[in-house]
């Protein structure tokens, strides 16, 4: 790698692929971009996390517009849970400046392993038959479109979901990722919200969560224009293309192959972290 021009183009191309695969597999661009920058381009993990964080805001905000039109996202559920994710994200961003980068690499690898597993596993849909007490107080239930028309759903397990969202926020601020896998775990599993509502509301929340820690990353000098520029533009273009071809794509096979590949990357990150190389 010689000059800045080649470096910029290579990173933009890699980020484009990361955004495309992130959208097709549902993993998001962030969990791919940080290993790409650190393991392949040997960029310091702090610059990588800063650049990943802004790309996460771009893809989340870009996709949210389309999802909101389809009528799946629940803006009340999203707004209430954003209290937990934004406070968590502030904590995560502060933590990132205090713990060694090797520890960040190891935690990143573990979260990556979980995300890869979560993207391939299939579980029966859990639905709440009646609203829990907090859900009733907060009027969290809603309707979502199905082939048979609009269907109503209830929400349960609000305290557990809120707690998991705090964890998702901390990991987002610490690792520069959207934490989509944990947000979906909180809504789909703990709160028993329909899967499609969970994933689109999770995407809707990711931008606000990432914005809470991005401000701190900016002030601390972790946002480098030379890296963030090709990453943000590349991931955004890749994610937009991914969203366009997603309806016709055979994602099941892609997820299995990619899940295996990302697990290998996760183990490599943990290994490099233990050796103190990242």
């Amino acid at each position: 790698m010689s000059g800045t021009l080649e470096f910029t183009l290579l990173i933009a191309g890699g980020s484009f692929l990361a955004g495309l695969l992130g959208a097709l597999t549902g993993l998001g661009g962030g969990v791919i971009i940080v290993p790409l920058l650190t393991l392949i381009f040997h960029v310091d993990i702090r610059y990588a996390i800063g650049a990943s964080l802004v790309s996460v805001i771009a893809t989340s905000s870009g996709a949210a517009a389309a999802y909101l039109k389809e009528g799946y996202s629940n803006i009340r559920v999203g707004m209430f849970l954003e209290i937990a994710t934004t406070i968590g994200a502030l904590g995560g961003a502060y933590l990132a400046t205090r713990i060694p980068t090797a520890a960040i690499a190891i935690i990143f690898g573990l979260v990556l392993l979980y995300s890869a597993w979560a993207s391939v596993k299939t579980e029966p849909d859990l639905t709440a038959t009646e609203a829990g007490p907090f859900a009733r107080l907060l009027r969290l239930g809603g309707h979502y479109p199905t082939p048979e028309g609009m269907r109503a759903y209830h929400v349960q397990g609000v305290p557990a979901g809120f707690g998991l969202m705090y964890v998702a926020g901390v990991l987002s601020g610490l690792l520069g990722i959207g934490s989509g896998a944990i947000k979906v775990l909180a809504m789909d599993r703990a709160m028993r919200i329909p899967f499609k509502v969970s994933t689109t509301t999770s995407n809707f929340m990711i931008g606000v969560t990432a914005a809470a820690s991005a401000g701190i990353y900016l002030h601390r000098g972790y946002l480098d224009p030379g890296i963030a520029m090709p990453v943000m533009l590349g991931v955004l273009a890749g994610a937009l293309l991914g969203a366009r071809i997603l309806p016709g794509a055979k994602v099941r096979t892609l997820r299995l192959i990619f899940g295996a590949a990302i697990s290998a990357v996760a183990i490599e990150m943990i290994f490099q972290g233990i050796r103190g190389k990242l």
């Binding site: 702090r46 905000s61 949210a64 934004t86 907060l138 946002l223 480098d224 520029m229």
Partner: protein, 126 residues
């Protein structure tokens, strides 16, 4: 949910969707402009990112980024684009306060104000 007064949830979702899209397009355009200038100026130099040094102070604070961007410095322009991107979800939350107030939904006005306060704290603290 039926609303006796104010905007429907559907209308709010539409406005929020358009707001987010406009913010991302604007931010990407500014980052791209800065990026072209950046590559034109620094394209031949060797990149140095293996060692973390942190950004200089003029690329960290909101007011100095504006000064840099107005004088069309490439790195300042990219930072301005990133700042616009970070501001997009913040604007979405700020708009939601107004939208819930329009619906007389004071519980959600309060919830949204808490989220907005956390975001403003993050952007203002340095």
């Amino acid at each position: 949910m039926a609303n006796s007064h104010g905007w429907s949830d559907e209308r709010i979702e539409n406005i929020i969707g358009n707001l987010l899209r406009a913010g991302v397009i604007l931010a990407a355009a500014v980052v791209l402009t800065g990026g072209v200038l950046y590559v034109a100026k620094f394209g031949g130099q060797k990149p140095q990112y293996q060692v973390f040094r942190g950004e200089p102070s003029d690329l960290r604070s909101v007011s100095q980024i504006f000064t840099e961007a107005v004088s069309l410095h490439s790195r300042g322009l990219i930072q301005l684009g990133l700042l616009l991107l970070i501001a997009t979800p913040v604007a979405r939350v700020a708009f939601s306060v107004l939208a819930f107030a329009e619906q007389r939904d004071w519980l959600y006005v309060s919830i949204t104000l808490v989220v907005l306060a956390v975001l403003v704290y993050s952007l203002a603290s340095s």
